[in-house]
Structures are given as structure tokens and as C-alpha cells.
């Protein structure tokens, strides 16, 4: 088989892989590296469940080939917490119950981390525009909005 060699930098760690080039980043993160925080929802880039950060910018890992990410710093939800505890955005989602089933939660949290990096004090309109591409089918949007606002500096 014509697997290709690939080095991925994920959450600060380097992974040497032999994979087929048509595999998506989502698939490789989950099946080869064992990071299952990014989930497949729609599979077409609309729902946001597979959100990861590439050089601090959110993308849909279902729409990117793993081989496209070889020169980037990839962050998944597993990379947010530190020895000091949960990331403030993670803690806020717990404090404000910004989820029900939580399938969408890693995507929302990573999108929020990126939002707050670009807009430390976002108004409601900015939050809603930025997060419009993350869908929560439980409908926890009010609580998610409260959690995001609580993180605004």
C-alpha cells in the first residue's frame, strides 16, 4: 500500500505516523492518535463537532486531510487543560451547564477559545456570529452564551 509518512504536532506532542493520504485529520486524530474529543457530526463542515485549532484558528477536521496539517500546531480539546486544572473556558461550560448530551461541547469550547483570542470582550452579536457554525441539537444555546460571556475579560 502507498502509505505516506507524516509527522503531526498535536497538543505539543509529536506523532510519527504511516497513513493513507486520503484519510481526514478527524479520522487520524481519533483512530491513530487516540484523541476522541473531536467527533464526527455532519461530516460536511457545518456542525462544528469536529472542530480543532490549526495554529490557533478553528477548522473542521472532517474537511481537512491529515497530510494537510503536517506543518501546523494542532490543538484538540484534550490539549486545553494543564496541571493547574481545566482551561477557564472548560470550567465556565461546567459552571453554566453549557451542554446537555455534550457531543458538541469540545467543538464549542475550542471555537470559544479562538473567539476570545481574537475578541477578548465580545458582545452578543460577535459571539453569535462566531459560533453560528457550531450546532447544539440539545438546544443549550442560552447556557453556552452565558458561559462564553463569563469568560470574557
Amino acid at each position: 500500500m502507498s502509505d505516506t509518512e507524516l509527522t503531526l504536532r498535536v497538543n505539543g506532542q509529536t506523532h510519527q505516523l504511516h497513513i493513507s493520504p486520503e484519510r481526514t485529520l478527524l479520522d487520524v486524530l481519533r483512530e491513530e492518535i487516540g484523541l476522541v474529543g473531536a467527533r464526527e457530526g455532519c461530516g460536511v463542515g457545518m456542525c462544528g463537532a469536529c472542530t480543532v485549532l490549526i495554529n490557533n484558528q478553528p477548522i473542521s477536521s472532517c474537511l481537512m486531510l491529515a497530510v494537510q496539517a503536517g506543518e501546523s500546531e494542532i490543538t484538540t480539546v484534550e490539549g486545553l487543560a494543564s496541571s493547574a486544572g481545566l482551561h477557564p473556558v472548560q470550567q465556565a461550560f461546567i459552571d453554566y451547564a453549557g451542554f446537555q448530551c455534550a457531543y458538541c461541547t469540545p467543538g464549542f469550547i475550542l471555537s470559544t477559545v479562538a473567539l476570545l483570542r481574537d475578541h477578548p470582550q465580545p458582545d452578543n452579536e460577535t459571539i453569535q456570529a462566531y459560533l453560528a457554525g457550531n450546532l447544539c441539537r440539545c438546544g443549550s444555546y442560552e447556557n453556552i452564551l452565558a458561559a462564553v460571556k463569563a469568560c470574557s475579560s
Binding site: 463542515g45 478553528p58 481537512m64 494537510q68
Partner: protein
């Protein structure tokens, strides 16, 4: 044989690779469209040639013939560009409303155009801007006006051995106003059901130039020059605007999909051409 993924370091290298077997090779820019097509087995190339390592293909700069936008500029970069915002705010807006944040972080302007998906925002605006694309092969570079670029569903004037390297947007006339209206029929992050780009230049109250492009409601973005001509040299009264809107509704063959029937889209073209012209006629540019 399974897929190969190549990352040439220069445009010349990419063109040489592509030219070896254009029918079996496929260019990948951001990948939002190509990866979906691969996943759904709509395409089965032997080789993907990535443009991501080629330096300079995402540059945005002003030249004598207009603003040059590198084909690899991300939609986010086009939307955030100070030059685009200053000279062509409707284009910045159209790139800002594509898909969602993640799509705009990955998709490129060149990829958006080369894919030629009808349900998209930037093509209608660029058509109304009289933009052109630069198509480069190993043998030559040629400029294709956007009015001659879109052939049909997912089909363009690009030859199999060509790579789109730039989009060129010429300066707008003086005293003009421009707007892009994105009409969505389902949800806030949806693709357009219809997109209307309109530009009008004025000398006092007289309209001296008028361009109206309709996208997403039809197979390719369309302008109707004979209908645009109704407005030139005239004052854009409510009656004249209605006549132009009726002309666009009658003159464009619309399509059916989950975002609306052909009949519905015809009505939406009428409504949104009217609204667009009223807004720019009243001095409220995008």
C-alpha cells in the same frame, strides 16, 4: 494505486507536476471542497497537488489594473484585508458570510471560484466587480474575464493543465455604491438561496453605470446587460427599479434545490434586486 499527496515548493514545480498527467492530477488549495468530493467518491484522482507551500500565492496587493488577490488567500484573509475593505467592501462582506468561521479559515478565494459551486457568495460579487482571473499553465498565463469563466455546474474555463493564480479586481467608477444581499431560506449559517450583487455609479441623481449580478439561484452567476442598460442615464425611480427587478426575474432560468424551488427563486430575485437597488439608490452602501 492509492492516492499520492504532493507539496511542490514553487509554482513552476506545481505546473510541471500537473502537466504530466492533467486528467489524473487534481489541485488542492484549502481543501474544503476537494476533501468532501474525495470523501463522497465524486472524484478519484491519482495525485493531489497541494499549493500550500508555494510562496506568495496568498498575497493581496494593489497594481495599476486593480487589486490583485492571490488565489490562495483564505476567505478570512480577504474579508479582513484593509485594502479589500477600503476599495471593495461588498467583496469583504461576501467573503465574511461564506459558511462559518472554520470554512473561512480553510477555504481560499481561488478554490471557491475554481470549484464553481453555484451556491456560493463571492462569485456574484466578483462578477459585478468586472473581475478577471489569471490562469497559468507551464506554457503561458492568460487572463479570463469572469463573464467568460463559469461554464456550468462545477465547470469553468480553466483547462486541466492550468492553475488559477490570481483574481484581479479593477477599480470601481467614481461616485458609486455597491451592495451584496445574501438571501438565506433555511438557517443563519446556510448557503445562499439567492445572492444579489449590485453596483451603481451616479452623477448627481443620474445613474451612469449599473451592474447587477445574481448568484446561487441559477447554474452560474448571471448579469443581464440589456436590463442593466435600462438604468443607465436615468434616475433610479421606484418604477424603474421595479422594471429592472422584473427584468431580472423574467430573464434568469432558476434552479430547484432544498433551498427553494425554481418558482420561489424567481420571486426572490425580483424582491432582492429591488431591495438592493433601493438601498444603493438611497445611498446606503454595504
Amino acid at each position: 494505486m492509492s492516492l499520492q499527496f504532493l507539496q511542490p515548493e514553487t509554482l513552476a514545480e506545481a505546473l510541471a507536476l500537473l502537466g504530466r498527467d492533467p486528467d489524473e492530477n487534481k489541485i488542492i488549495a484549502g481543501g474544503t471542497a476537494v476533501v468532501l468530493m474525495l470523501q463522497h467518491k465524486l472524484i478519484a484522482p491519482e495525485t493531489l497537488i497541494s499549493l500550500s507551500r508555494i510562496p506568495g500565492l496568498n498575497s493581496i496587493h494593489l497594481a495599476d489594473d486593480g487589486l490583485h488577490i492571490g488565489s490562495l488567500a483564505l476567505l478570512r484573509e480577504v474579508a479582513a484585508s484593509g485594502m479589500v475593505q477600503e476599495h471593495f467592501p461588498a467583496l469583504a462582506y461576501a467573503c465574511e458570510v461564506v459558511g462559518n468561521v472554520r470554512i473561512r479559515n480553510q477555504a481560499t478565494l481561488g478554490g471557491n471560484m475554481a470549484e464553481a459551486d453555484y451556491a456560493s457568495d463571492p462569485p456574484a460579487v466578483l462578477l459585478a466587480l468586472d473581475a478577471s482571473v489569471v490562469a497559468t499553465s507551464a506554457a503561458r498565463a492568460r487572463i479570463i474575464p469572469l463573464s467568460e469563466f463559469f461554464y456550468g455546474f462545477y465547470t469553468t474555463a480553466l483547462e486541466p493543465d492550468e492553475i488559477m493564480t490570481e483574481v484581479i479586481v479593477p477599480a470601481l467608477p467614481a461616485n458609486c455604491r455597491m451592495i451584496y444581499l445574501k438571501y438565506k431560506s433555511r438557517s443563519s449559517e446556510d448557503r445562499p438561496c439567492a445572492g444579489i450583487a449590485a453596483m451603481a455609479a451616479f452623477d448627481g441623481l443620474i445613474c451612469t453605470d449599473l451592474r447587477v449580478a445574481v448568484g446561487a439561484a441559477c447554474e452560474t452567476p448571471r448579469r443581464l446587460l440589456e436590463i442593466e442598460a435600462l438604468g443607465i442615464g436615468q434616475t433610479l425611480t421606484d418604477e424603474l427599479i421595479q422594471e429592472i427587478a422584473e427584468g431580472y426575474a423574467a430573464g434568469i432560468e432558476t434552479l430547484d434545490d432544498l433551498r427553494g424551488s425554481a418558482w420561489y427563486r424567481t420571486q426572490m430575485i425580483r424582491v432582492h434586486v429591488r431591495r438592493a437597488l433601493k438601498q444603493i439608490g438611497a445611498g446606503r452602501p454595504c
